[in-house]
Subunit: 153 residues, 12 copies
Amino acid sequence: MAESPKPRVLVVHGPNLDRLGSREKEIYGDMSLADLNEEIRAVAAKLGLDCDIFQSNAEGDLVSKINSSGDAFDFLVINPGAYTHTSHALQDAIRASSLPAIEVHLSNIGAREPFRRHSVIAPACLGSIAGFGTFSYLMALEMALSLLEVREE
Amino acid sequence: MAESPKPRVLVVHGPNLDRLGSREKEIYGDMSLADLNEEIRAVAAKLGLDCDIFQSNAEGDLVSKINSSGDAFDFLVINPGAYTHTSHALQDAIRASSLPAIEVHLSNIGAREPFRRHSVIAPACLGSIAGFGTFSYLMALEMALSLLEVREE
Amino acid sequence: MAESPKPRVLVVHGPNLDRLGSREKEIYGDMSLADLNEEIRAVAAKLGLDCDIFQSNAEGDLVSKINSSGDAFDFLVINPGAYTHTSHALQDAIRASSLPAIEVHLSNIGAREPFRRHSVIAPACLGSIAGFGTFSYLMALEMALSLLEVREE
Amino acid sequence: MAESPKPRVLVVHGPNLDRLGSREKEIYGDMSLADLNEEIRAVAAKLGLDCDIFQSNAEGDLVSKINSSGDAFDFLVINPGAYTHTSHALQDAIRASSLPAIEVHLSNIGAREPFRRHSVIAPACLGSIAGFGTFSYLMALEMALSLLEVREE
Amino acid sequence: MAESPKPRVLVVHGPNLDRLGSREKEIYGDMSLADLNEEIRAVAAKLGLDCDIFQSNAEGDLVSKINSSGDAFDFLVINPGAYTHTSHALQDAIRASSLPAIEVHLSNIGAREPFRRHSVIAPACLGSIAGFGTFSYLMALEMALSLLEVREE
Amino acid sequence: MAESPKPRVLVVHGPNLDRLGSREKEIYGDMSLADLNEEIRAVAAKLGLDCDIFQSNAEGDLVSKINSSGDAFDFLVINPGAYTHTSHALQDAIRASSLPAIEVHLSNIGAREPFRRHSVIAPACLGSIAGFGTFSYLMALEMALSLLEVREE
Amino acid sequence: MAESPKPRVLVVHGPNLDRLGSREKEIYGDMSLADLNEEIRAVAAKLGLDCDIFQSNAEGDLVSKINSSGDAFDFLVINPGAYTHTSHALQDAIRASSLPAIEVHLSNIGAREPFRRHSVIAPACLGSIAGFGTFSYLMALEMALSLLEVREE
Amino acid sequence: MAESPKPRVLVVHGPNLDRLGSREKEIYGDMSLADLNEEIRAVAAKLGLDCDIFQSNAEGDLVSKINSSGDAFDFLVINPGAYTHTSHALQDAIRASSLPAIEVHLSNIGAREPFRRHSVIAPACLGSIAGFGTFSYLMALEMALSLLEVREE
Amino acid sequence: MAESPKPRVLVVHGPNLDRLGSREKEIYGDMSLADLNEEIRAVAAKLGLDCDIFQSNAEGDLVSKINSSGDAFDFLVINPGAYTHTSHALQDAIRASSLPAIEVHLSNIGAREPFRRHSVIAPACLGSIAGFGTFSYLMALEMALSLLEVREE
Amino acid sequence: MAESPKPRVLVVHGPNLDRLGSREKEIYGDMSLADLNEEIRAVAAKLGLDCDIFQSNAEGDLVSKINSSGDAFDFLVINPGAYTHTSHALQDAIRASSLPAIEVHLSNIGAREPFRRHSVIAPACLGSIAGFGTFSYLMALEMALSLLEVREE
Amino acid sequence: MAESPKPRVLVVHGPNLDRLGSREKEIYGDMSLADLNEEIRAVAAKLGLDCDIFQSNAEGDLVSKINSSGDAFDFLVINPGAYTHTSHALQDAIRASSLPAIEVHLSNIGAREPFRRHSVIAPACLGSIAGFGTFSYLMALEMALSLLEVREE
Amino acid sequence: MAESPKPRVLVVHGPNLDRLGSREKEIYGDMSLADLNEEIRAVAAKLGLDCDIFQSNAEGDLVSKINSSGDAFDFLVINPGAYTHTSHALQDAIRASSLPAIEVHLSNIGAREPFRRHSVIAPACLGSIAGFGTFSYLMALEMALSLLEVREE
């Protein structure tokens, strides 16, 4: 008897997340991106999710990743980093992909400098989770599963 | 041998949440506040959290609740409703309480009318979870537990 | 043979209307709130409307009144006073009530200080009548009847 | 014994009201300008008002009408249409005429696009009635009579 | 021979002042509200002033207090707390009361976050005293006496 | 066998286009309005379009032209001149006419003074062509034909 | 021997100047437009200037007057009235006419309501004279003569 | 006898145009980018133009393409996509290339969300064509030819 | 028989007018300040005015001059130079002096850089004359005489 | 036994305070600067304060006074007059002096024209007292003494 | 005896600097990027600095370069080109690198179009040098050496 | 054989630089103005520059210095201090002097409070150097020499 396939989640890290854990630890914690990704994969596995992870500092690459492989996924978890506040192209890409998406942030962007308090990505997302460090991602995976199950029903 | 006491979480619902489930269901879902509170209590129990719930349509009552009973709690989960965007008094109360706090919203406020995209509460909170309907609260409870455990260590 | 019941109108007075007639008479006239309410009741009676009147200086009480008793009425006439310009909570409450509503003002708010020229309540109302002193309320009652009759047809 | 003359009211329709009833009926209803004018005249007659009606799409003609014939009237009822939001000339003309004036709108301009929420005409008017379709005019006539009677006393 | 009655001063504390002395002591000092009130009463007694004190976290209660009992006083000293920056209702209430009023603040609001630098209460007050901690109130009492004496003459 | 009638296009020139060719030739070229109109008629003829041309410096006349004769046409090509940036009345007229419309400009308004970069007419039009001198009109005719043919199919 | 012809000056009065002298005399004085024009003609005659005067309440007519007869004049004196603050079309017309122009105002617009402090006409004029009542025009004629003489040299 | 070489046109597609035809068809139509490019090549061939086409989601690649190969072309047709509204780098690149350029858009950006109504690219372009779907490109090619012929003369 | 004394006019030149005639002649002409002052004195003499002239680059000196000697004059003619746009102190000084004042400018400030289009001095002046080079001053003297004569009457 | 020296207070009056008492008495009262200074000296003597007073209309002199003699004082009381709203230099000087400072105003600047509601001096001061006429200064002296005594302890 | 290693400086050129010397020479001079780099290397050699140079038109590549190789350098000299005004990602990268950095510009950006006057990069840099053409870079190298020597001590 | 004369540089220090070295050393360093001036003179001598230094806290004196002695110099190095952000008079003076000028700042003004990020002086200067403490001046002298030599050639 054929098993139903695992839901596939694309996790996208935006600019400067390659530096995670080595700088400004008081804001972003001391876990490296490799460690975070490992944890993301572990939690995804536990939740029964297929999970692909992508990082780029380039707005265009983030757009291209979503455009070219969006169809291969059921859900998008994205930390748009500093592009959160200016990238209309990323907003268009997420909307064009029709993927249900969650915007995540390590820090509570609503509590930082004024320019960080506004997200141009939000209108293309279902929800946002911000301020819980690397937990923000893990919670997003759990939530992705819940939302996909709701849809299923 | 004395058991360590359960962490106590105060869950605060702001204005108009008393109408939950009876109106604008396409935005807020069809669960009533009573149902939501029951679910919050169930999840809290499962997580080993002591949980108190408070709802008011009055800014002053929300402030007073936090001011008068804040010391009795270890964590605050608050959905400030429409006061999110204007209540400096609520921000001051949360900050004055020194409680670690999570701001939750049923809808993704960053994707709605412009006036709903800015939170004056955020600077007094650790993080925010928005857009997942009643799940936003449940996730906040889980996160509260995780953050209290991290602190403990 | 059963008579069709009278339409029920809720008339809500916002902050500072309890002071009507005793201060700033050059702007608001010299009729007291009690006198105004009497006149409202008389006109309602003449028009065949059941009419309930509520005044509060508290934003939360105004919200609660609409939330808790909105279902008992067919129409809302509201003078939101100084909350006209800032109360998103009141706007949400009116919208949540699904009541057809008319916003009334004693003075012509469009002709006063800049902050009084913008109503955040308007988007939840059918129309607005401003600048005719206590007549604004009376006209709103007449209009309520006309609109309810139109609906009936 | 000489009868006191009837109060004379000038009703002014601004730009695009010549299209009333043939387009965007979901906003403006399906009554034509001719029909509306007939109804205005009927109500005026019933109220004992002498009533003159003028429509123009041209800002300058509206200004000229008020400037040249303002002295022949006791009251002004004006729907400035899209000039509501920009015409300082019209505001100046109404003020110069010294006529008591009521600003009327078919739709509730406070609930529409941002540019429609601000009236530069308001500071020259006694009050405003908006959002009741063609009723807005009829109510304005009633109110005009009431206000003229108050003055008389 | 009848003595002239003592001038009566109403001292109003706005939101979060119930927390005075227990939190953010580096900004607001470590005197509790009870202690402050005692000191206010002592200074008032010394100055020959009858003094009533009221605290509420609710905008509506502050408005109601002024509206209902304003006539019983000769002077108002008010610290509007976080409502300083948004409460048009409070401004209207003070103006409606016709009481000479002094706005006081514990901290120098002109030197804090941008949103705290603007007072919508100021236009209804004679003057303001800010930045001197609990001294701000005491100085206001002295000033109230001086201003009442000037009026007397 | 009856031939299908030619599509009818209304070409509207706004303020100051009567001066075309005699002034500021470095911006607008040296073709007169008469010459331009002749060329418009020639191209229209070649394309099999019935074409009527109207110029006025008066906002009200432009509105009236569209209101009174809009039903007689299948397409509108309009250069609103300096009214592009302020005329809500013209926007309303185009929308009320239900005509498919193209906004044309001789110069590239997006590259000129800031006030010329924003069109309040655009929301009522299908598209815009700007910066190609008199070619802008000719291209608009071609495009009108293409769009009408698409519709036909 | 042929005399050199008199310089020709076009004097343009904008909206509401037809009401001069009959209303708001405390701002605009009690001289009627007819009286002012007579005085303008007298001063022009004395200065050896040929002078034509035009008044309209219509923006389009003002534009058309300048467009159609601008070539017949050597100088323009214009009081744009309330169009001063919004009419890009008038600015374009003056610029297109290449006439040296002086902007005049009866009142000191820089000292009135905020919206009257900005002139969109100014960039098309040589200079401006404001605040001297009807003298503003007379002074402009003198200045026109001086500037034409300077040019001549 | 040497033939004059064909004019060379560079057609540049910005971010998200790689998704053309597969998403949001109600806005962008259902033609794929490959189909559009084929049509562009066909029209170019018919017009006697040499045509090169480039698409990238990356701002930097768009800049580099123009910088590195701009000298090889006589004309630029560019749809800057979402970079239209923010990319000063692209504006600088176009200006630095000295290529005559036309900005094209599939949708009428002046009629969409506020942030889409402003182009920072426009000041570096001759003109713009927006709102005609894939026709916008084809018209731009025709116009490019016309403008190059005018230059030639 | 005692002659009535000559009216006394204070002419004040603000910052950088000491450089008149030696720099930026295309804007300010090539007359030096000494020459201008001579001409001012000549015209004043011809008009029967007593005239004192003061120049300073220092805001404080301009304020002091008006404060200390204002009582000795009947009229003020002031070119506030670059302080026009920022000096509240100068505005206060002119208002405090109660002198009727005319603001003059060599260039047409309404046609220059945006920051030069707003005068904070205007609200303290009767009128303004701008854009006529050194004529601006001479015209102001004439106007001063006229206005003083009007007052006399 | 050596007595501890008296605290030294520098009182600084900004622009236009030299006119005190002779103009705009309805705002600033009718006490002259000399009288005010006498009263300041009397109160200072009574409080046991050494007091130096300085007035200048020049921003630079105010800065220089604070810079050159700041070290000779223990406290600064400053009424920055119209420089309150613009003088970054004065703010820098006060901050550089490290003197505890009180900003005083005769009128309640928060209740006057918009530009007077914002103080750029405030961030360099301990507190502010505004609206009590000459009492503002006297109260500041008392407060200075209190604050110096607190520091002493 | 081991020599101390040479300080290593990373020089980063942002978008469009690959076009240096071939376009807009009146602004940027006629030196090519190759020539500039050669000169940078010569000056670095003379100063005893190890110098690496990187150019990219892509925001993401600039971020990646700093992120991936920042640790290999002691100093950063960066001309962010048009990304100066919008790239929060670049600001974050510089800050994350902890490198002392100097922002350089060929032109004086404070004297150009408004959008070029604001740098979002500045808050992450020690200082900025702008307006000296290619000298800006050379001066930055000298300054880098001085600052590194100061640190050494 | 006659030597060519040394280039003459005017170095101008604005407000509060007289306090250099005695206050806020963490921002401005601990070198006094006298020490800085000595160093400026030493470097100037070494570079073969004649150098004059001027400091004033008064905007007017800075303007006067440039106006009166500008012709005696070949170059201007100016630190406008807090006048950087508001002094149109200083901008006018520098422009009027026609001196090539460099704006210097001790701190990196682009990284400080928002009001310090904008220079109204910049448009009158060749370039700016900010953030290098007293080095900023020395570098400006070197740059002055280089630029004068370039001009010479």
